[in-house]
């Protein structure tokens, strides 16, 4: 679906189209939306929307060296998930699913919802500021990045992180697989997320 105007409602569809249709196995996609903080008179990227697809195979993931979260850490994650669930569905709601293991990548995705980046800082902020994609493939590249978000991602078992700038923000993708740069994917992002481009109208 290509429209000329930015449309919050179609963000989810666009993120799904991007990674469900990809040949590579992406774990999640996030759209960081550009806004201006009136108080600080500064541009920043905040949560626009996100799509968590999940990992292909949990057993395969654990072989890759991502150590499982400790019992205390799991309890903490479940507690937060329970609180978030009651925030969404009401305090009386019960959901057995919140008592299931919260995987590292699920947790990383959830924590991302609380984050924002000043233009020029962090991986999404850099991509937006320079208008150049950032593609980090391989745990070593993530671990040695100057950006905390990339290092954090590696700690949660992600092996590839990509930030592709568009007119209104940045599309970030993450995977527990090592995925090398793909022109096809970058073209897809340009088509799906280049809002307000008169040529696409």
């Amino acid at each position: 679906p290509v429209t000329a105007a930015f449309n919050q409602e179609t963000l989810q569809q666009r993120l799904q189209t991007l990674i469900d249709g990809a040949q590579e196995s992406w774990t999640y996609a996030i759209f960081w939306q550009s806004s201006v903080d009136d108080f600080a008179a500064q541009a920043f990227l905040g949560w626009g929307d996100g799509y968590y697809k999940g990992e292909e195979d949990k057993a395969k993931r654990s072989k890759k060296g991502s150590s499982p979260a400790s019992i205390a850490e799991q309890e903490h994650r479940k507690k937060v998930l329970r609180e978030l669930n009651s925030l969404i569905s009401g305090p009386a709601s019960t959901d057995d699913a919140v008592d299931e293991e919260v995987t590292d990548t699920e947790w990383f995705f959830l924590v991302s919802m609380t984050q924002s980046f000043m233009t020029g800082s962090g991986l999404p902020g850099q991509a937006f500021y320079t208008s150049n994609p950032v593609w980090l493939a391989g745990p070593e590249r993530l671990a040695s990045s100057v950006c905390e978000r990339a290092r954090q991602a590696q700690g949660f078992g992600l092996q590839t992180m990509v930030c592709i700038p568009s007119a209104n923000g940045v599309v970030e993708l993450g995977s527990t697989e090592v995925i090398f740069q793909s022109t096809d994917l970058m073209n897809k992002v340009r088509v799906l997320f280049n809002f307000n481009n008169p040529d696409l109208g």
């Binding site: 919050q8 949560w47 996100g50 978030l84 925030l87 969404i88 699913a97 995705f109 959830l110 919802m113």
Partner: protein
Amino acid sequence: DGDLPLQRRKSLQRFLEKRRSRLVMVSPYGS
């Protein structure tokens, strides 16, 4: 604190629903 911006609330709701359905599919007791 209960003050969750609308877009994050929507994203979170989708995430929780999808997680629920994924776990139901995996669990032998889910159906």
